[in-house]
Amino acid sequence: MTTTETLPLKQETDIVTIRQRVRKAAEDARLGLVSQTKIVTAASEIARNGLIYGGGGQCLIERTQREGRAAVRLVIIDHGPGIANLEQAMTDGYTSGNGLGLGLSGARRLVDAFEIASQPGQGTSVEMWKWK
C-alpha cells in the first residue's frame, strides 16, 4: 500500500511540519526508532537547504515498498539557483553559507538511497529512501 502527500516548503515552520509528517510516515512504515530519527533528521537537513539556498519549494513524502520491504521515500525539490559543483557540495565541511557544511553529506549517510540532481538555474531535487 502506498500513501503519498506533498507539503509546501516556504517558511521555517514548514520544516517543522515536514519533520512531523516524515516521522509519522516512518512510524507507519514500522521503521525502527534509529531509522525513524535518521530519516527525520535527513529530511530536516535537506528541507532547510531547500529553504535557505533554494528559496523554498516542496516536499513529497511517500510511504511505499522497496523490494518487498516497507520504505519511506522523500523527494524535496526547490526552484533556486541550483548547485554548480555537486561533488564539492557533497564534501564534508564545505558550505557556501555559514552552516557546518555537513547537511548534504550527512543526510546521504543517514539514508539508504540518496539521489541528487541539480542544474545551475534549474533548482535542485533530492530523493531519499529509508527502508526496513
Binding site: K38, S44, G106, L110
Partner: protein, 280 residues
C-alpha cells in the same frame, strides 16, 4: 450624484432603518447567549450613526478620513468578536445584513435605483471585507502572542546548586528559540556566577546540523565567559544520528542523563553528598 442621494436617503430614514436592521439581525439567528439584545441595539445604532455621517461627509471612499470612526467601530467589534470566539461569518453578517433594509428603502425611493443599488453594494462589500480583515488581524495577533509566550515558557534556565545551572530543552529547536535559550543561559551565567551549565536535550526530538551548530556556539560562548557546559540526555537514536551526520562534538562533555551530569558537576565543584546514617 448618487452618493449624495444615498446620504440623504440614509439621513431621512435613520430610525426606520435601525429598527429594520435590528430585526434582520435577530432573524439571522445570532446566538442570544453570545450577544444580548442591548449590545445588538447599541452596536447597530452607533454604527449606523457613524455610517450616515461618513457617507454625508466623506462620500463612498472608505479610505477617506471621515470614514475613520466607522472603521474604528468595526475594528473594535471584530476584535471583541474574535476574542469571544464568534465565528467569522457572524461577524461579517453584522454589517452585511444592513443591505436588505437599505435595498428596500432604495426600491421605494424615486432616484436611479440601479445606480443607487450598485453604489450601496460596492460600499457594503468593502465594509464587509474590512470587517473580515480586522477579524483576521485580531486572530493573528492572538496567535503571535501565544507563539511569543511559548518561546518564553519553553526556555527556563534553572539553578540546581550554587554554581550549577540547567536548561532543559523541549521541542524543536529552530533559530528563534535557540537564540532565546542561548541569550537566557549566558545572562544567567553572569547573574548567578555559575561555573557549570548543563544543557539537557532529552526533550528534543531531532538534532540536525543546525541544532548542533547552535549548541556548539552556545558552549563556545559560555566557555569564553569561564563556564563549562555539559550536554545531557542524548538518547541512543540521537547519538547514532549525530555520528552519521559527521558532527564533531570535540571536547564537549556529554552525559546520558541529567542526573549523571549533575553528579559530575558536583564532583567538579568538590561537593560531596553524604547520606545520613540510620539512627544517627
Amino acid at each position: 450624484m448618487t452618493v449624495t442621494v444615498l446620504a440623504e436617503l440614509l439621513q431621512q430614514n435613520e430610525t426606520a432603518l435601525l429598527d429594520r436592521w435590528i430585526a434582520v439581525q435577530r432573524a439571522a439567528g445570532i446566538d442570544p447567549n453570545r450577544l444580548d439584545d442591548r449590545s445588538i441595539t447599541d452596536n447597530a445604532r452607533d454604527l449606523l450613526h457613524a455610517l450616515v455621517r461618513a457617507i454625508s461627509e466623506g462620500g463612498d471612499d472608505i479610505e477617506h478620513p471621515q470614514w475613520r470612526p466607522v472603521k474604528q467601530l468595526l475594528e473594535r467589534l471584530s476584535h471583541v468578536h474574535s476574542q469571544q470566539g464568534f465565528p467569522p461569518t457572524e461577524t461579517a453578517t453584522f454589517v452585511l445584513s444592513l443591505k436588505e433594509p437599505l435595498f428596500r428603502l432604495i426600491q421605494k425611493s424615486d432616484g436611479n435605483t440601479i445606480e443607487l443599488l450598485w453604489a450601496c453594494t460596492r460600499l457594503f462589500d468593502q465594509l464587509g471585507l474590512f470587517t473580515m480583515q480586522a477579524y483576521m488581524a485580531s486572530r493573528e495577533q492572538v496567535i503571535r502572542e501565544q507563539q511569543e509566550s511559548m518561546l518564553e515558557l519553553s526556555t527556563p534556565v534553572v539553578q540546581l546548586w550554587k554554581g550549577v545551572l540547567a536548561v532543559p530543552l523541549i521541542g524543536s529547536l529552530d533559530s528563534n528559540r535557540t537564540q532565546v535559550v542561548m541569550e537566557a543561559l549566558l545572562q544567567k551565567i553572569v547573574d548567578t556566577e555559575s561555573d557549570i551549565a548543563i544543557i539537557d536535550i532529552t526533550g528534543v526530538p531531532t538534532v540536525d546540523t543546525m541544532v548542533a551548530q547552535h549548541l556548539l556556539k552556545t558552549i563556545t560562548a559560555a566557555k569564553l565567559m569561564g563556564a563549562k557546559c555539559i550536554i545531557s540526555g542524548i538518547r541512543p537514536q540521537i547519538a547514532a544520528t549525530i555520528v552519521h551526520l559527521g558532527v564533531e562534538l570535540g571536547d564537549v562533555v556529554t552525559k546520558a542523563s541529567l542526573a549523571d551530569a549533575f553528579q559530575l558537576a558536583l564532583r567538579e565543584l568538590n561537593v560531596r553528598l553524604v547520606a545520613n546514617r540510620l539512627g544517627a
